[in-house]
Amino acid sequence: MVRYILKRLVISIITIWLLATVTFFLLRTLPGNPFQTEKLLTVEMQERMMSYYGLDRPLMEQYFTYMKNLLQGNFGYSLKYTNRTVNSIIKSTFPVSAELGLRSLAVALPIGLALGVASARKRGKIIDYICVVIAVIGVSIPSFIMGTFLQYIFAIKLKLLPVSQWKTAAHTILPTVALALSLMATLTRVMRASMLEVTMQDYIKTARAKGLGEGRITWSHQVRNAMIPILTMLGPMVASVLMGTFVIEKIFAIPGLGQHFVNSITGLDYTMTMGLTVFYGIFLVTANFIVDILYGLVDPRIRLAK
């Protein structure tokens, strides 16, 4: 087990290094410089800014400086937010995004899986159709429509909840629901397909031949086996949700991480983009590692050697 973890750690470090390197050079191939968009700056001032941040040095030198800082966990100063480090921006916005993500997952996971199970068990019956319709709606309606729709109904018409912002628990409900709906829909679809797949397996027939009831068969034989594909998608899903969603955070005016992913690229904020990419990468690699450990818990066939 220790050997396995060490091996995974080395592979993860190489992955992150590749990610950082490729992103670093790709960013520099983009035309323009970070200060060009600010119309007030003269060319001369832009050049002074470039040299202030060391962006006029040879590219390889910049790369090594960046890497050296990265090794110390230092993402550098943002080029757009004056006097703020990327680390501090992540530190202040990530918890908000993560909270929203966790809340949505906490809603979407149990409901999504339950609907998937229910719809597979009642295949072809009314419940199945209802679940499928919910799933299709959740997958096909984009979150900006769902978000504004929820705001219109619950905040403006019914005046039950605040329209936007991130202050009290009441503020979290609408964005959580908006985000959870699409997650739930995906989970329902995958769980349903997976359950139906398991239903066809011979061991389900064995379970029936033992005289077990249908409820028993679902709980002790089907669900666990059907969870394997869910786990596979759960790693990337959790990572992307916790990292914040641009659209939902924008609609509900939530000070999360999501907006920075988009703004840093359009503004050519090199250090910010680099920092977010590496942060996301580390997060994703960790999530996948946890999923691999969980695999072993669910399926003894892939349990790791001790």
């Binding site: 031949a209 033992k210 086996n225």
Partner: protein
């Protein structure tokens, strides 16, 4: 007639598909006496498995549909039992083992629990007692170190061992009837013999009646007292094993026996029955074996033959048995093949 533990009367079972109705079972009647082994023999797709799975109501309906017929178990008509009522019978009164032991066990559940959950379902005993019973059963089916085996997962066992576990699961509640649906088809030859021997032994010990489905006449010879030969959803010939082996009356049975290679065979090519079984979407008029039959007469393609009773309960459905037909001697098993469990010296 109280010796009959299970009786099937004129069973018709079909599958409704988009392409139409598949008549998988077309009027089957058979019975199983207490303590005996009955073999159902036939090619793939002739309705053997559907017949026994219908008795246990394991065929999903729809698409399956029981059209007519009666299933009588221990004097009780169970034809229209609900799934709830069947759940009480399954496992405790009748059990089944399947063809492929690699896929018949739940890969994510320990062997032990797969055995105890059946016991706990049917009997009101503590989990500890159930565990003891399961370990005893594992020992009985020949799993070395049963305490350890109890905690293992299916993938830690070989195919033969898994089939032993399947037998343990099936017999742990001491059912009256065991259906073995091609129990040795997926196993290699040496393991096959061991599994058949195990089924024979446990059958004696637990006084279980066995229905064994197979397409392998070698399996029949090793296990069964009586045989029913199925073709295209019907039973064409049934009788004691020795009558079927040495005095077959139906050309299909005779063809099956002829196509069995024997140890001393010198001819280079193996004998086979020419042609393929009929399409069960539209079963042919007359005898369904007629298109492949060497002895086919005009009448055979026109009308289905009636069943003719011979000695020792030997029954056959063939026009050749008609007094007006030309007398023919059908070839049976040539070399001596004992029907009395020649297991050990055979291997």
């Amino acid at each position: 007639m109280s010796r009959k533990i299970l009786e099937i009367k004129d069973l018709h079972f079909s599958f409704d598909t988009y392409a139409g109705e598949v008549q998988a079972v077309r009027g089957i009647s058979l019975y199983l006496n207490k303590g005996e082994t009955l073999a159902i023999v036939g090619e793939s797709g002739c309705g053997k498995s559907v017949t026994v799975q219908t008795v246990m109501k394991l065929v999903p309906t729809p698409p399956g549909r029981l059209k007519s017929g009666k299933i009588i178990y221990c004097g009780e008509d169970i034809t229209h039992y609900s799934q709830k009522e069947m759940q009480k019978l399954r496992g405790s009164e009748m059990s089944m083992i399947f063809q492929d032991p690699m896929t018949s066990l739940n890969p994510t559940m320990r062997i032990g629990r797969q055995i105890t959950e059946g016991i706990l379902k049917h009997e009101n005993i503590s989990p500890d007692k159930a565990k003891q019973r399961a370990i005893e059963m594992l020992a009985k089916v020949g799993i070395a170190n049963p305490e350890k085996g109890f905690k293992r997962y299916p993938h830690q066992f070989s195919g033969g061992m898994r089939q032993r576990v399947m037998i343990a699961i099936a017999l742990v509640c001491n059912p009256n009837v065991l259906f073995a649906d091609e129990p040795t088809t997926a196993l290699d030859v040496t393991t096959q013999a061991q599994i058949l021997e195990l089924i024979n032994e446990l059958k004696q010990e637990l006084e279980t009646s066995v229905v064994i489905i197979t397409h392998d006449l070698g399996v029949v010879a090793r296990t069964a007292e009586r045989v029913a030969v199925m073709y295209a959803g019907k039973i064409v010939e049934t009788g004691l094993s020795r009558d079927i082996f040495y005095k077959p009356k139906h050309p299909y049975t005779s063809g099956l026996l002829e196509s069995m290679p024997s140890a001393g065979q010198v001819e280079k090519t193996l004998t086979s029955i020419k042609g393929t079984p009929p399409d069960l979407f539209a079963p042919p008029k007359g005898c369904s074996f007629a298109p492949r039959c060497k002895y086919c007469m005009n009448i055979c393609t026109q009308t289905d033959p009636d069943e003719v009773q011979l000695e020792n309960g030997h029954k056959v459905s063939c026009w050749l048995m008609n007094p007006q037909a030309e007398k023919r001697e059908l070839p049976g098993r040539k070399s001596r093949l004992s029907t009395q469990k020649p297991l050990k010296e055979g291997i």
